[in-house]
């Protein structure tokens, strides 16, 4: 039997727990990546050539670090970061431990997306603000962020969806969550019911996030 409904119902508490763990992992990683990635993305943009804080040294170093982290496949990054994870949360098992690696992976990803979002802003608008005599901080707060608001929301959506995928990978090495459930039951025990259930849950999560993200991005855009 492909899908055993009774079995599915009996597994509901486990599925619910796994879902909660996934949400926890993604929640922590997303918060950290926004708190650090947003300023990082702004710095990457404003230190670029021709902008008001042009600084080849800072831009070069940050860009190198971002590229370096992004070039490591996530599954390897997870393992590489075990010592760091151990240092921060005193364990390498469980969703909180997984969220350390997830954060490290998501920060540069989100920062690049923010940088690209800022790049889409018409340079003339930034120039007009400089001509008006605005301070750099004002330009960031009142020009760059509002103008890129809609694209940044889309960047958040994209980051969450990537985190869903990454969190499943983190599950395979003891991170918990939906991915862990799918591997343990669906793969090791040939439990089709759980396999199908997790796939459906993941599809639904991603669809909902994308829809909500698009809706918000559109609603706040005044163009």
């Amino acid at each position: 039997m492909l899908f055993d409904f009774a079995h599915f119902v009996s597994m509901l508490p486990d599925i619910w727990k796994a879902f909660g763990e996934t949400v926890l992992m993604i929640g922590i990683a997303l918060t950290v990546s926004i708190v650090i990635g947003l300023p990082l993305g702004i710095i990457l943009f404003v230190t670029d050539k021709g902008l008001f804080w042009e600084n080849r040294f800072v831009k070069g170093i940050l860009s190198f670090i971002v590229n370096m982290i992004r070039s490591i496949p996530f599954i390897i990054l997870l393992v590489v970061l075990f010592p760091l994870t151990n240092l921060i949360v005193k364990t390498t098992i469980g969703p909180v431990a997984a969220s350390v690696s997830l954060s490290i992976a998501a920060i540069p990803f989100f920062a690049r997306l923010v940088e690209n979002a800022l790049r889409e802003i018409d340079k003339g608008v930034i120039e007009a603000s400089i001509a008006v005599g605005a301070k750099p901080w004002m330009i960031i707060k009142d020009v760059l962020l509002p103008e890129a608001k809609s694209s940044v929301i889309q960047a958040v959506t994209l980051t969450i969806i990537s985190l869903v995928a990454y969190s499943a990978m983190a599950g395979t090495i003891g991170g918990g969550g939906i991915g862990d459930l799918a591997i343990r039951f669906g793969y090791y025990r040939y439990d089709n019911t759980i396999m199908i259930a997790t796939v459906v849950i993941l599809i639904v999560i991603v669809q909902v996030i994308q829809q909500v993200g698009d809706l918000i991005a559109k609603a706040i855009d005044k163009r």
Binding site: G124, V125, A131, V132, M138, P146, K149
Partner: protein, 337 residues
């Protein structure tokens, strides 16, 4: 007063150096409307952007009321920019902020106390005739309205100079005229010096007191708009003027000409004194008008007529000499005799 002293701007590309502005010196008086004319690539936009140091001149100085802006950096330069407003061809308003918030932004840059901001925003919007649009986003405005917001933003901190970067080039003729009238009004009422760049001679004719023509980064001709229209020295200047006052006479018409074709230029009051009718009565020549116009530049008349004078060569010469003694300028364009 604005002094542009020997300003040069060189752009360094990977392969070569491009000279955008080549040793330009100009003095623009307080309260003047000064037009810089040239084709795209002539360097006029670079020169304008050098004035508020959006582009730093490679060499030369920019003196605004005695302060050399090229010596300023960072915070001091930012403060100096508060006194130089700028408007753009594509307006460059913050699209995610309302009209009111866009102007507020400029006031915040000058650290105006927040309790005075709203009153000032309303005052500025009233000046440009957009009071009712305060809570509207730029996307809902027409081009002319966006430029009015741009003007309000540029004037927010009572600048002494307003720079206009092709400010009307994206607008239709009717809107262009209304924006030009607004600029003229601002110039008169607030005594703001206006420096504008354009490729449209109409704009210059409409509001400028003085002008210069740029080509390949250099100023090739400079003077009062009236004088330049009356007596352009350079070929390029002539080309620009003929875009407004054109005197091309069709070949077919020229073929049938029997006498001499002359261009007669009347300046100022001379334009209305019946010189032509006096001439034709006194000398044995016949006159045919082929083309003509009276333009009003800076509220002064400039009459330009193209006539065919028919008669004996001697009589025509006498007639021409007579017209010149009456204060008009005559130029023989074509002689069929």
């Amino acid at each position: 007063m604005l002094h542009i002293q020997n300003v040069t701007k060189v752009y360094q590309t990977k392969k070569k150096k491009v000279v955008g502005v080549d040793h330009v010196s100009l003095t623009i008086e307080k309260g003047e409307v000064f037009g810089i004319v040239g084709y795209s690539g002539a360097g006029k936009s670079s020169l304008l952007r050098c004035i508020n140091l959006l582009e730093r001149p490679t060499s030369g100085n920019i003196l605004v009321d005695g302060t050399d802006l090229t010596k300023l950096k960072g915070e001091n330069l930012r403060r100096a920019r508060l006194k130089i407003g700028m408007i753009f061809q594509h307006f460059y308003l913050i699209s995610q902020k309302t009209v009111g918030e866009n102007i507020e932004f400029a006031l915040k840059a000058a650290e105006m106390p927040s309790n005075r901001i709203q009153a000032r925003v309303k005052e500025l919007l009233a000046m440009v005739g957009l009071e009712e649009k305060i809570d509207v986003y730029p996307a809902q405005l027409s081009g002319g309205q966006k430029q009015r917001v741009g003007i309000a933003r540029a004037l927010a901190n009572n600048p002494s100079i307003l720079l206009c970067d092709e400010a009307t080039s994206a607008l239709d003729p009717k809107t262009t005229l209304s924006i030009l009238h607004l600029l003229k009004k601002i110039n008169r009422e607030l005594d703001i010096t206006i420096v504008l760049i354009t490729h449209e001679m109409n704009v210059v004719k409409e509001i400028c007191d003085r002008m210069c023509v740029m080509q390949d980064g250099k100023v090739i001709e400079e003077g009062s708009v009236y004088d330049i229209f009356a007596n352009p020295q350079e070929l390029l200047t002539n080309e620009f003027i003929s875009s407004v006052v054109s005197f091309n006479i069709p070949e077919v018409v020229l073929k049938e000409v029997k006498g001499q074709v002359v261009k007669i230029l009347f300046k100022g009051k001379v334009a209305g004194q019946g010189i032509i009718s006096d001439t034709i009565q006194q000398f044995n020549v016949q006159g045919n008008f082929l083309h003509g116009t009276i333009e009003y530049i800076q509220e002064q008349a400039l009459g330009i007529f193209i006539m065919e004078l028919i008669g004996q060569t001697e009589d025509i010469h006498k007639a021409i000499a007579y017209i010149e003694t009456r204060g008009a300028h005559v130029e023989v364009l074509h002689n069929a005799i």
